[in-house]
């Protein structure tokens, strides 16, 4: 784990150039996609971008403060189902508004769960989040308005607003935007007093508390932010899959990927989840196309176990050691 001194010594750009740089990269990726002009590229790209957001969201709590959230699917599905509800009530709501609503709802749920369990030892929080995924799934399964166990259909508009072309291009663009937002947030946390507080909690919570770090408040901020981004990552999902039922919306794949990617990439900086998502997500797409979709879900699990045992600092850590 990077100590505080290491972090301050990091050469870095200011927040604004960093944001502009990310926007440029995102724009570049999107224009390459446009240039290739193949809808598969957008479908695959969306998945990787979604995992960058999910992984970064998980890392804000897991990597920075050391609290493991297993209930990713709960937050993710809250975002997805809030879109389903909005779609059924007012179909004309633009997608970014739906994302904002999903994010706020999931953030509030994160705050609530954290408030109830974060005063205890970390494992209890982890167990509570695991159980919460089951409970949110039970609630959704029993809620007929969103289709219950049968699932709900969401009609994807034929063409994308603003940019033209297929709607999936718009979904990809929106998800890229969310990536930029999540990464900028994560990076500015790392470089702010908030990030140092998080790191203090992770390294020794009792000592942090004793030296005046408001641990509970910081942990609640982290849970709310993390949950909120997970909800935002889930909000466009109904438009992507067009048919959403509880067993696919709460698929364990999302949870495993969102945990595996930061741990494989490296949890100490914003770059880790990105590397993890690109490497694992890319590998999964490759295996799904070449071998089978059943094997592809196994990849993240096996890589997760291998990396936590053999390379605890992730891919980023491997390169840092060489330097």
């Amino acid at each position: 784990m990077a100590s505080l001194a290491d972090r301050q010594a990091q050469p870095g750009w200011g927040a604004l150039p960093f944001t502009l740089g990310l926007v440029l990269v995102a724009a570049l990726i999107f224009s390459i996609g446009r240039w290739i002009d193949n809808s598969y590229v957008f479908f695959a790209g969306y998945v990787v971008a979604q995992y960058i957001v999910l992984g970064t969201a998980w890392n804000i709590l897991g990597g920075y403060t050391g609290y493991v959230n297993f209930g990713i699917t709960a937050f993710f599905a809250i975002g997805a189902y809030s879109t389903v509800v909005l779609y059924k009530l007012v179909p004309a709501v633009p997608l970014p508004v739906m994302i904002a609503v999903g994010g706020v709802l999931a953030g509030l749920v994160g705050f609530g769960t954290g408030y109830l369990t974060l005063r205890l030892r970390g494992v209890f929080f982890s167990i509570a989040t695991l159980a919460m995924a089951v409970v949110v799934q039970t609630l959704i399964t029993n809620w007929d308005f969103v289709g219950g166990a049968r699932g709900a259909y969401v009609l994807r508009p034929r063409t994308a607003p603003l940019i033209g072309g297929e709607y999936v291009q718009y979904l990809f663009l929106v998800m890229l935007g969310l990536c930029v937002l999540a990464l900028v947030t994560a990076r500015s946390i790392e470089r702010s007093a908030l990030g140092y507080g998080f790191a203090a909690i992770r390294d020794d919570e009792a000592a942090a508390e004793a030296s005046g770090v408001p641990t509970l408040r910081l942990k609640l901020i982290a849970t709310a932010l993390s949950g909120g981004f997970m909800g935002m990552a889930g909000a466009p999902l109904p438009y992507y899959v067009t048919y959403l039922d509880p067993s696919s919306g709460f698929s364990l794949n999302y949870a495993v990927n969102a945990i595996a990617m930061p741990l494989i990439g490296g949890t100490s900086s914003w770059l880790g989840p990105v590397i993890g998502a690109v490497v694992v997500g890319g590998l999964q797409e490759y295996i799904r196309v070449t071998i089978s979709s059943a094997v592809n879900v196994l990849v993240a699990g096996v890589l997760l176990v291998v990396f936590v045992i053999a390379a605890p600092q992730g891919i980023v850590g491997l390169f840092q050691r060489k330097r």
């Binding site: 297993f70 205890l120 167990i127 159980a131 089951v134 039970t138 364990l252 936590v308 045992i309």
Partner: protein
């Protein structure tokens, strides 16, 4: 709502029997989490493994599921020792249990589930045995044998382990590990070895619990997840490491779920354990019989 006394009574009885089964499911976690402080969230995956051992032995060889899993127990014991050894070398020794250790077990849970899907598919599987189907009628009370048999065997298992922990040398050493590892080392006993044995035992119980599971309900690879919340709710509610507390908590939860299923519908039952868990964590984190 028309609450008939018969219905209520039968719901309580079947909840009690279900609770006995839950005790068997939670027993392993009561050992690993309660005594060894290892948060083995992959325990339900080992239970499912037991269910599929029972299923394979039952369909291929026609052996009774409980007997098959009794025979498989030593293999599960070795598997548990192996899992602990990996966990010890990779996480406990590095003092990195919380983040990566938890993720390790989460990965194990997922790998087991997907492997079972790849081998057996996602169809529900069940076993054949003489006691699945008929029930014992005592007046208005109906005791389904497929709940009663696991209940009885499970109680035998809990009592045996309790006796093992309190009467034998190794058992006492396991309890000592839970209290003070350093002191145990001063007594010239190796805490790692003791913990390895205890973790092996905790996984061995998963074998039998798996047989009960597939006797009670048809099994498919992802149902293990439903048990994570239940198992930890029971262990936390019972007070970590206390077997009598765990049994009481298991029966309480069993009755609560059975009543919920009877009066609100079975699809609501999984939410009960979460409610219980959150309530316990918020109100009394040390559990009913906690230290």
């Amino acid at each position: 709502m028309d609450v008939s006394l018969d219905l209520l009574f039968n719901a309580v009885i079947s909840g009690l029997l279900l609770g006995g089964f839950y005790a068997a499911v939670s027993l392993g976690v009561a050992i690993s989490f309660g005594l060894l402080d290892i948060v083995n969230i992959a325990h339900p995956a080992f239970i499912l493994l037991g269910s599929y051992v029972a299923f394979t032995a039952n369909t291929v060889l026609g052996i009774d599921p409980i007997l098959a899993c009794l025979i498989a127990m030593p293999a599960f014991y070795l598997l548990g020792m192996l899992a602990y050894q990996v966990y010890y070398i990779a996480f406990e020794r590095r003092d990195d249990q919380s983040l990566r250790g938890l993720s390790f077990f989460f990965g194990l849970l997922f790998i087991t589930e997907v492997t079972l899907v790849l081998i057996f598919g996602v169809d529900y599987r069940l076993v054949q045995a003489a006691y699945i189907g008929p029930s014992l009628k005592l007046g208005i009370v109906e005791l389904p044998l497929r709940l009663l048999v696991p209940f009885l065997v499970s109680m035998v298992m809990v009592v045996t382990l309790q006796l093992f922990l309190s009467r034998t040398f190794v058992g006492r050493a396991v309890q000592a590990v839970a209290q003070d590892q350093g002191a145990l080392r001063l007594m010239a006993a190796n805490p790692v070895k003791i913990k390895r044995i205890a973790f092996g035992i905790s996984i061995a119980t998963a074998s039998l619990a798996g047989a009960f599971l597939i006797i009670i309900q048809p099994v498919e690879p992802s149902i293990g997840r439903d048990y994570i919340g239940r198992v930890f709710a029971i262990c936390v509610l019972g007070g970590l490491g206390s077997f009598p507390g765990m049994v009481i908590a298991a029966m309480t939860l069993g009755i609560a779920e059975s009543l919920t299923a009877t009066f609100f519908g079975p699809s609501w039952a999984p939410a009960v354990s979460f409610g219980v868990l959150l309530l316990t964590l918020a109100v009394r984190p040390s559990g009913i019989l906690g230290r």
